[in-house]
Symmetry: none
Subunit: 73 residues, 2 copies
DNA sequence: GACTAATGGGGTAATTCGGGTG
DNA sequence: AGTGTCCGAATTACCCCATTAG
């Protein structure tokens, strides 16, 4: 492999994840506690979530999934 | 902190969609099970619906097909 | 150090799920 | 085939306040 120097991994705050799932930030916290979401804790104890994982979960289970069947609007 | 993530579409809760259609939330669930509505499940199993799709269906005429934003892969 | 906004933790209602029935 | 209601169980939403983030 290569460079294990710096991985700029986009992290999301609970409010961001909650907005994407249309749920309460507290609910996202419960998911993290339940182990359904990978939570990265700050030094103060707050949680941060990986944007890549959140997007994957939002799409259901397929990262390489996209469709371009645009109809009329 | 300020919003660096705008990859989320507006979602609606079953109660919201049910109120818009004047039906029971259970009926909305049946529509989702029948494939007439795109349902996005939360990590807890609850369903969320796309606000854009619901609006399109409310308008009546068009099919259940709407444009999907293809992210940057 | 002080400030505003958000988060964590706990606890309690409200909603939703799933199946079965009218 | 489609919808409304019943039930039990699970999940989620909103209340409090102390701490953390920036």
């Amino acid at each position: 492999m290569a460079t294990r120097t710096q991985d700029a991994e986009p992290l999301l705050t609970p409010a961001e994840v909650a907005a994407m799932f249309r749920v309460d930030p507290k609910t996202v916290t419960r998911w993290a506690k339940a182990g359904k979401l990978t939570s990265i804790r700050t030094l103060g104890g707050h949680r941060r979530y990986r944007e890549s994982e959140v997007r994957t979960l939002l799409n259901g289970q397929g990262p390489a999934m996209e469709r371009v069947e645009v109809g009329e609007l």
